[in-house]
């Protein structure tokens, strides 16, 4: 086999695996990883125990690698539906730049490596939560729930909610009310975030036969679910403001962002499909964009409270 034939196979999607370095990086889902890094870092810095910068840096890196390993294993398992959906068609496996076997080996190795290294760099509790997170995302969400139930996003969202708990565990060696609250904040945020996306990416999930709520229960029910979950989310987000990781800065940010998010969810609930199609799903896209600002805003505020606390100003 010549180099040229290898290259031809790669471009026709047979997956020879002669990929660029960037293709392996893409397997780690860098955008999801940025959320993992940020929330884990906030969990680590908000904890009431100081962490040596080198240990903190190494721990965040291994948490990110663990998250990336989950992404690679998710892409390996979901390669068949990634080939169908427009949004995912250009990922390394469906595009034929990385083979499925390579993605599996890469993901499995990184998963084991990141867990062991986090255990050595920080502690066993953090490593155990990271191991459970990878297991939950790959086995519970990707292999089981995603193609089976419209509640896939609700339960599967837990996987994305663990990173701040891992960061907190790196610092404290344990779990506490505050770290569970940070978990709950992301857990409750995930459904409205993904359902807003599903409303304007409707044909993608339908064609791939992924039982998103929009496909199984219809778009009216999805709009109602977004509103109900947003109301629950608001209570968690505001309530967190009165705990040890909250404070005046957090509460101000939370009140503003939750008012906007609630209004966005209400606007989506009030609309019907004809109105949404009429303006190109403007409200749905707006809520999806706002949801990203929402999460970064809340965790940024927790970080700000923690930083102010170093100077005797943060918290209540």
């Amino acid at each position: 086999m010549t180099d040229t034939s290898i290259n031809n196979q790669a471009t026709t999607g047979t997956g020879t695996g002669d990929a660029e370095f960037g293709d392996y990086f893409a397997l780690l889902k860098p955008r999801v990883m940025s959320l993992v890094v940020f929330t884990a870092l906030v969990g680590l810095l908000a904890a009431p125990v100081d962490v040596h910068p080198v240990i903190g840096f190494a721990s965040i890196l291994f948490i990110a690698l663990g998250g990336g390993a989950s992404g690679a294993l998710n892409m390996w398992w979901d390669a068949d539906i990634d080939r169908i959906m427009k949004r995912t068609r250009n990922r390394p496996i469906p595009a034929g730049r990385v083979s499925e076997g390579e993605a599996l080996s890469f993901g499995a190795f990184l998963a084991a490596f990141s867990i062991v290294m986090l255990g050595l760099a920080a502690n066993l509790v953090a490593a155990a939560i990271l191991a459970f997170t990878i297991f939950f995302y790959v086995v519970i969400y990707t292999m089981w729930l995603k193609r089976w139930t419209p509640q896939n996003i609700v339960i599967g969202g837990a996987a994305g909610a663990f990173p701040p708990m891992i960061g907190w565990a790196v610092a404290t060696g344990g779990i506490s009310v505050e770290s569970v609250l940070m978990f709950t904040l992301i857990f409750m945020w995930t459904p409205p975030h993904f359902w807003a996306l599903a409303l304007f990416m409707k044909s993608d999930y339908h064609e791939a036969r992924v039982p998103m709520l929009t496909v199984t229960h219809g778009r009216r029910a999805t709009r109602l679910h977004i509103l109900v979950y947003t109301i629950l989310l608001v209570s968690v987000a505001i309530g967190t403001g009165f705990t040890a990781i909250g404070g005046p800065v957090y509460l101000t940010v939370a009140l503003l962002l939750n008012a906007l998010f609630l209004k966005g969810a209400f606007d989506i609930w009030r609309r019907n499909e004809a109105q949404a199609e009429g303006d190109g799903y403007r409200a749905e896209k707006k809520l999806f964009a706002l949801s990203l600002v929402y999460l970064f805003g809340h965790f940024g505020a927790i970080l700000a409270e923690s930083t102010l606390g170093q100077f005797g100003m943060g918290g209540w």
Binding site: T4, A19, F21, I55, A58, S59, A121, A122, V170, T172
Partner: protein, 55 residues
């Protein structure tokens, strides 16, 4: 006949090898840094370090 680098594939492989090399160098530096910190603190088992003479 001399072997020539004439295909785009070789550039991709070079990029991949350089990338992997940098990752390995970074990993060695990280383990070195971790070792120095843990030796200085005299605690090799876990973070947070146990308090000396702790309860």
């Amino acid at each position: 006949m001399a072997i020539k680098v004439e295909h785009e594939l070789h550039k991709r492989r070079l990029g991949r090898n350089i990338g992997l090399g940098l990752v390995l160098v970074g990993f060695v530096a990280l383990v070195f840094g971790l070792t120095v910190v843990k030796v200085e603190r005299g605690d090799f088992s876990a973070n947070p370090p146990r308090a000396e003479g702790g309860e």
